[in-house]
């Protein structure tokens, strides 16, 4: 599954879910899956204490059913943020008899997800957070990861591999002791270029984060509220 079905637009895919155009609905759905499947899978594992197999089935069946029944299109922006709506819908899915008919859906669903990767990402301090806080943190992680992936794709398509490699080395690695001088030597460029490349990458990264956020929110107000929540500075 591509993570950037909406590579050049800032249109809200939440609104596109209710589109009369089936193709647009499918693209919107794929974008939402990209941003939300990992948070929901981890949420099932940590907040609902489900086994790996159950969490996989829950996540898979949730999206499959949501797509088939178009239940996401029932989102009412006046009632809650889309993020909250989705989490509550998932809660209901978990508590309902979700196993019903899942056997025939497994393997035949619309989404194919890398659960091994998600499983490896479940961190040990999760138990210290309230369920909604945990879901929010994992959602932030997912939105940022989608933005990083889109940045990598853009850089590859534009031949800016060194740009992304510098961004990856300096901003994505846990060990940030590396200096601009070391990066300049490693990539065979001037130190000032490292500064410029990094600055350009950060600027584009920020744009892509906000683009992703705009896509998964329905209104300008929700977008602003989620942007504040995303950057961790809600007043």
């Amino acid at each position: 599954m591509s993570v950037s079905p909406f590579p050049t637009t800032r249109r809200s895919v939440v609104l596109a879910l209710a589109s009369a155009d089936a193709g647009e609905r499918t693209r919107a759905f794929d974008t939402l899956v990209a941003c939300y499947w990992k948070p929901l899978y981890k949420y099932a594992r940590v907040a609902w204490h489900r086994s790996r197999e159950d969490a996989e089935d829950l996540t898979q069946s949730f999206f499959t059913r949501a797509f088939e029944k178009e239940s996401l299109a029932s989102y009412d922006r006046a009632k809650a943020s889309f993020r909250t709506f989705l989490r509550l819908l998932f809660d209901r899915h978990v508590t309902n008899d979700w196993r019903l008919g899942q056997a025939q859906k497994r393997g035949g669903g619309e989404v194919h997800l890398d659960f091994d990767a998600a499983e490896a990402e479940i961190v040990t301090d999760a138990a210290t957070l309230a369920p909604d806080e945990y879901f929010h943190r994992e959602w932030v992680r997912s939105v940022f990861a989608v933005a990083v992936e889109r940045l990598r794709e853009r850089c590859e398509s534009e031949g800016k591999l060194t740009h992304f490699a510098i961004f990856e080395s300096y901003d994505l690695e846990d060990d940030r002791d590396v200096s601009y001088r070391e990066l300049a030597a490693r990539f065979g460029i001037a130190e000032t270029q490292v500064t410029n490349y990094l600055s350009a990458m950060r600027r584009r990264f920020r744009e892509l984060v906000l683009d992703a956020l705009r896509e998964v929110t329905a209104t300008e107000q929700e977008f602003r509220a989620e942007a504040r929540a995303l950057f961790g500075g809600v007043k």
Binding site: V3, A117, A120, E121, V123, V140, R141, F144, A145, V146, V148, E149, D171, L172, E173, D174, R176, S199, R202, R203, F205, R206, E207, V209, L210, T219, E220, Q221, R224, A227, R228, L230, F231, G232, G233, V234, K235
Partner: protein
């Protein structure tokens, strides 16, 4: 897709949020606070060698800066400079206000009279805005600064609107200070700000406020906007009348209350008169006349 650790996530949040000030005359000093529409930083103006406040917003309309620029008043921080950052965000710089927020000021030792005098001064820039057709829409103690030398400044005009947001259909404001019509997503007008000011007045007056003061608060925070003061000026005038021991429009006092207020108002004169009468009686007594 790459796994992002908590540490990397925090770092990415920082770099995505920190403004890129290259190409401007400013260098970043520190973050000062966050409002509904942006983040405020202390920055150093290299050309004038001074610290100023910089607000960075995503709003491309520059609405707040234009509203502030149109409201020249000592109680509203003036805009120095506007511009576009390298990262595409819009910024404007303002005078860096040194002082404390009203909610912090209240925790210090201040009497009710001093707090009410301060409140009347908070109303002044808001009344000026109302007279110019602007509604603040997010008045609360956190958005009022009390300067080092007693200056009072109303801050954060980020959701202010020239027509009360008649076409927005969105909810702006802060619970506890937000007028009922704002909470319903309806158009806000000067009386919506009066509601917020009334809530601030209740905050400043305390639970043991005298009845006339409580009546002012009740009128300012009436659920029905038509029952409130028409604007901040009317509210401030009533508070000043209370401070001057004059009858307030929000409260019909009894004869005894009127007498008590009259005694308080002319206390100094009555004391002098009483002293004169005592002296006169003493003189008459000792001289036998």
């Amino acid at each position: 897709m790459k796994w992002l650790s908590d540490e990397t996530l925090a770092h990415l949040r920082d770099i995505a949020e920190t403004p890129d000030l290259r190409g401007t005359r400013y260098t970043l000093v520190r973050e000062l606070g966050r409002g509904g529409m942006g983040v405020v930083y202390e920055v150093h103006d290299q050309e004038l060698d001074r610290s100023v406040a910089m607000k960075v917003v995503d709003d491309p309309t520059r609405g707040e800066a234009r509203i502030i620029a149109a409201l020249e008043h000592p109680g509203i921080v003036p805009v120095h400079d506007v511009g576009l950052l390298e990262d595409g965000r819009f910024y404007y710089t303002m005078k860096l206000v040194r002082g404390v927020r009203l909610d912090e000021w209240v925790r210090q030792e201040h009497g009710r009279t001093e707090a009410l005098r301060l409140f009347a001064r908070i109303c002044e820039p808001v009344a000026f805005a109302h007279a110019n057709g602007v509604v603040h829409r997010d008045l609360k103690p956190e958005n009022v600064m009390v300067g080092e030398f007693g200056a009072v400044l109303v801050m954060d005009w980020g959701v202010a609107h020239a027509d009360g947001g008649a076409h927005e259909r969105v909810i702006v404001g802060t619970p506890g200070y937000m007028a009922p019509e704002q909470a319903r997503g309806e158009r806000a007008d000067a009386r919506s700000d009066v509601y917020a000011l009334g809530a601030m007045l209740a905050f400043l007056a305390g639970d043991d406020a005298p009845r006339p003061l409580k009546a002012i608060v009740a009128r300012a925070t009436a659920a029905d906007a038509s029952e409130r003061y028409a604007d901040a000026r009317e509210l401030a005038d009533d508070v000043v009348r209370f401070l001057d021991a004059e009858p307030v429009s929000a409260y019909r006092e009894s004869v005894f209350e009127r007498a008590g207020r009259w005694i308080v108002k002319y206390r100094a004169l009555l004391t002098l008169l009483a002293a004169y009468l005592v002296m006169r009686a003493a003189v008459l007594f000792w001289t036998g006349h």
